[in-house]
């Protein structure tokens, strides 16, 4: 009776890795003092007990002003546990923090340089680990958080706009890869790979003057060349996420 079900599970892969993004609560720590921390936490929980039950929490250190040596993650985890809060990891901080986090079996996340809830003295620049160096020597200039590239992106090159939109005023060649946290605009043919919303922004789009891509992706949802050979192939197109489905729409009216 249970046999068909068993074979079905056998045929399926054990797991599948996917990109996902999740909104998390971050406890921005300004300084670490176990007693005041517990007191403050208790007050907060009293205001909204349901919110805090089994809450996954990330310790944010972008605005931490105290001494790194004072940080005791074990104690911090202990306090949170007693209030049924689950500490997942630590965001920001330097290599020492990273080491401490690892010792306490906490995940370490690169810090965010945006969102300053209060004018704190510039915290230790929690530089996110540099991604693959965008090898493209294409003349590019950073305008705001976006990135403008005027030279062709050639096979084997990678151009990455980690914080904003990416604008390319030249062709993206086959075998090239362009990535952006936001939208990607290509004023030329897209023959390589384009990945928009790499941090999970599902509203990101890819615009190109001729869709000839090897792969397009928005927030981890992707389509390969073979699946793109529709009416929009080799025409100006916009690629966006509609629900869970990646769609290409003609750009011209």
């Amino acid at each position: 009776m249970s046999e068909p079900a068993a074979t079905a599970t056998e045929n399926r892969a054990c797991f599948e890795l996917r990109d996902a993004s999740q909104t998390l609560t971050v406890m921005e720590l300004y300084h670490f003092d176990p007693d005041t921390l517990e007191q403050t936490l208790r007050d907060k929980i009293r205001q909204a007990p349901n919110f805090f039950r089994d809450l996954p929490l990330v310790i944010g250190l972008d605005h931490y002003e105290g001494n790194v040596a004072d940080l005791d993650f074990f104690q911090l985890i202990g306090i949170c546990r007693t209030h049924s809060i689950q500490v997942l990891g630590v965001r920001g901080g330097n290599d020492d923090v990273r080491r401490l986090a690892r010792n306490a079996a906490l995940a370490w996340l690169p810090g965010s340089r945006t969102s300053a809830p209060r004018p704190a003295p510039e915290p230790e620049p929690a530089e996110s680990t540099p991604q693959e160096p965008a090898a493209a020597a294409a003349q590019s200039s950073a305008i705001g958080p976006g990135r403008l590239v005027t030279q062709p992106v050639r096979s084997g090159q990678q151009v990455y706009a980690p914080e904003g939109d990416l604008i390319i005023m030249a062709p993206v060649g086959a075998g090239a890869e362009v990535l952006a946290a936001g939208h990607i605009h290509i004023y030329g043919p897209l023959r390589g790979r384009a990945l928009a919303g790499v941090h999970g922004d599902t509203s990101a789009s890819i615009f190109c003057q001729s869709l000839e891509a090897e792969l397009v992706s928005v927030a981890g949802h992707y389509k390969i060349s073979e699946d793109l050979q529709g009416d929009d192939w080799r025409t100006p197109a916009r690629i966006r996420l509609e629900g869970q489905v990646l769609t290409a729409d003609p750009l011209t009216r």
């Binding site: 090898a135 493209a136 020597a137 294409a138 030279q151 062709p152 992106v153 050639r154 096979s155 084997g156 090159q157 030249a170 062709p171 060649g173 086959a174 075998g175 090239a176 043919p189 023959r191």
Partner: protein, 269 residues
Amino acid sequence: MARIIVVTSGKGGVGKTTTSASISTGLAQRGYNTAVIDFDVGLRNLDLIMNCERRVVYDFVNVIQGEASINQALVRDKRVENLFILPASQTRDKEALTAEGVQKVLDEMSETFDYLVCDSPAGIEHGALMALYHADEAIVVTNPEVSSVRDSDRILGILQSKSRRAEQGMEPVKEHLLLTRYNHERVERGEMLSIEDVNDILSISLLGVIPESQAVLNASNQGAPVILEDESEAGCAYADAVARLLGEERPLRFLDGQKKGFLKRMFGG
């Protein structure tokens, strides 16, 4: 100061050595003091095409390692004045080309020559990187077929990121496209990419189009750069390419059929 020109392609067998031989011969014919350097250490070919393999005593690697002076290693061409060949070593491998060694040799040669033509090996590994690193100009040799165009695109990217000019933030390497083995009939039949197709993908300036020709093969086998065959279309096409390299305006020739009119319009012939 010599102008350093690298002849490169990424893909093998597209005509780099043939082009190096003809371009350097053409420059020397025009009176420029020219040396052509074989960077394809381990696979010596240039001296065969230049017909000087029997006069090679020392080679590029000997010079780099200080076992011979540049003058001892340079082989003078018998047909064209002002032309010298620096052959590659066949017994070493490409690792023998050190960045400092190549730099030293090129610096020294820069003092006496007007043009140094570097014949790059295929691929994007050490030997090819050494050949292109010092370049002021690059001639990217491409056949009108998809894989060759793809590899040329790759090598253009490397020129823009890994050359000395890129690393030191100087004016970028001047890139020229040389389309070789162009066969008009096969383009018409759709078996080959057209000039427009290649131009569309690579978008760099076109130095010339060398028609596919038996003369190229004959010249290689006889050890004479095809540019010396001034009766052949390929030879004339190379002469035109040299003229364009020197900044002269020349219309594209030997493309046959109706395409000619269109191309003339496109490339300002």
